[in-house]
């Protein structure tokens, strides 16, 4: 029987990395509905929050639970800014992800084929994954995540290293994954992407979750000064007040 995933709860989570508090007393509740985009300046703690929610990093203080359990369930996947491809073909990378999750060989082949078609890369299925372009590798990473049929997909700045065309393609694929029933939590610096994609915005500033606001209201009328300064491009470095 599949383990339950939702709700995902972060309670007073603090993460210290090399003596620095990357995340400070973060509280977040994910019920598996909607598209959440995490925004914040560089070093605000967005990627750390994503990794804690996914179970890749343990909190220094506080707790993270999935459906009330501290045991990390499988029905979640993550795509990183720079995808790591194994030294094998593109399709074998997708099949590998399913094999380690216990999917049988023939079913893994079938689902990998479907996933690579969904991302429009069936023509490069037999090419070495590491020889593909950055945009193609990111799409293979999305296919690899999608093939696992996760209920929750984390995306850590998935378009940050891509040109506009490749970024648009990734955005389209993420939209399709969401439409197919997978909840999405994404970090990005791309405000245009956040506006188009998000249902809710979680805004972080210096390791703290400053606000969680419906996207349309966030971009129209953010609740916090830090978010307003951020949107105006006037968020000062390492200070709690504006430079004006």
């Amino acid at each position: 029987m599949a383990e339950r995933l939702f709700p995902v709860d972060a309670r007073d989570v603090t993460v210290r990395v090399g003596g620095h508090e990357a995340l400070r007393g973060a509280n977040l509740h994910l019920d598996g509905r909607g598209r959440i985009v995490i925004l914040g300046a560089n070093g605000a703690g967005k990627s750390v929050l994503l990794r804690v929610l996914h179970g890749l990093m343990a909190p220094t203080a506080g707790a993270i639970t999935w459906a009330g359990s501290e045991r990390r369930p499988n029905q979640q996947a993550m795509v990183f800014q720079r995808p790591v491809m194994l030294r094998r073909t593109a399709i074998a990378n997708i099949e590998y992800a399913m094999a380690v999750n216990g999917t049988g060989h023939s079913e893994a082949e079938l689902r990998a084929r479907e996933a690579i078609e969904h991302v429009g890369l069936a023509n490069v299925a037999q090419r070495q994954a590491r020889a593909l372009s950055g945009g193609e590798q990111q799409r293979i990473a999305l296919a690899r995540a999608w093939a696992l049929r996760p209920r929750l997909l984390y995306l850590d700045e998935p378009t940050a290293s891509l040109d506009p065309t490749a970024a648009a393609e990734v955005e389209r694929i993420v939209g399709r994954i969401y439409a197919a029933g997978t909840a999405v939590v994404m970090t990005t610096h791309n405000l245009g992407l956040a506006r188009r994609f998000a249902d809710e915005i979680v805004f972080l500033h210096e390791g703290r979750i400053v606000e969680r606001t419906p996207a349309d209201r966030f971009f129209r009328e953010p609740a916090s000064n830090e978010a307003r300064w951020f949107l105006q491009g006037e968020l000062p470095w390492n200070t709690a007040s504006p430079a004006i």
Binding site: N74, P83, V84, R87, A97, V100, Q128, A131, L148
Partner: protein, 234 residues
């Protein structure tokens, strides 16, 4: 000078003429070295990779020990294996001292730290890159060991060839546990040492030429494989 030149000419005749004495020594040498390299890799590659990716109490001590064993004097290894296999030793009943098996054991013990230490370093470096992605997919560090072994296969082939080269070029330990018995445990390195001391320079030189060609060919193969894999896989 003319003596040296004459020795080289005679050595070349032995190598190209298929001298049975020379080629039996070469054949045994390659057999025991290959067996030792295979054994050391079967143990050392997974062990080194596991140490490279796992976090466990005493890991640093294990890494320091592995690295320290790289400098293990081969005659000491020979002496320890000799003591273990000698009639009064704990494994004396096996009766394998002064046999090719004893040489394989000594060579394996010499090559194992090299294979384990180098594969540990390769795996640790790769783990920095792969760790989050693999853990995200649900791969445990132990399950990551075969994945890394497969993904690092071209880099690790260099380690395998290096291990084979180390085994093939060993003298001291092989001399102690093998006894350099003609037709039984005489390998290239021990034969070169013996023939040189006897003054039979052509045979010693002939064996030296073969040994150098083997080592050169291995290094060329390792280089070619790495170049090819970089071009193919990036």
């Amino acid at each position: 000078m003319s003596d040296i030149l004459a020795s080289f000419v005679a050595a070349a005749r032995l190598v190209t003429g298929g001298d049975p004495n020379l080629w039996s020594v070469v054949s045994l040498s390659l057999e025991v070295s290959l067996a030792a390299a295979v054994l050391a890799c079967l143990i050392g590659l997974p062990l080194g990779t596991w140490v490279g990716v796992r976090d466990f109490p005493g890991r640093r001590a294990v890494i320091v020990s592995l690295n320290a064993l790289l400098g293990l004097p081969s005659v000491v290894v020979g002496l320890i294996v000799y003591l273990m296999l000698s009639r009064a030793g704990p494994l004396g009943s096996l009766g394998i001292l002064f046999t090719p098996t004893a040489i394989v054991i000594a060579q394996t013990l010499l090559v194992l730290p090299i294979v384990a230490a180098m594969s540990r370093q390769f795996a640790e470096d790769a783990w920095q890159e792969y760790r989050e992605q693999l853990l995200s997919l649900g791969v445990t560090p132990t399950r990551a060991v075969p994945t890394l072994l497969l993904d690092l296969r071209y880099s690790l082939l260099t380690v395998v060839l290096l291990g084979f080269g180390r085994a093939a070029s060993e003298v001291g330990a092989v001399m102690i546990v093998g006894g350099n018995i003609d037709g039984v445990t005489r390998v290239m390195t021990t034969a070169i040492a013996l023939e040189t001391s006897k003054g039979d320079l052509p045979l010693a030189l002939g064996l030296g030429i073969v040994l150098i060609v083997v080592v050169l060919a291995l290094n060329a193969a390792a280089f070619a494989v790495r170049e090819w894999s970089l071009a193919r896989h990036g």
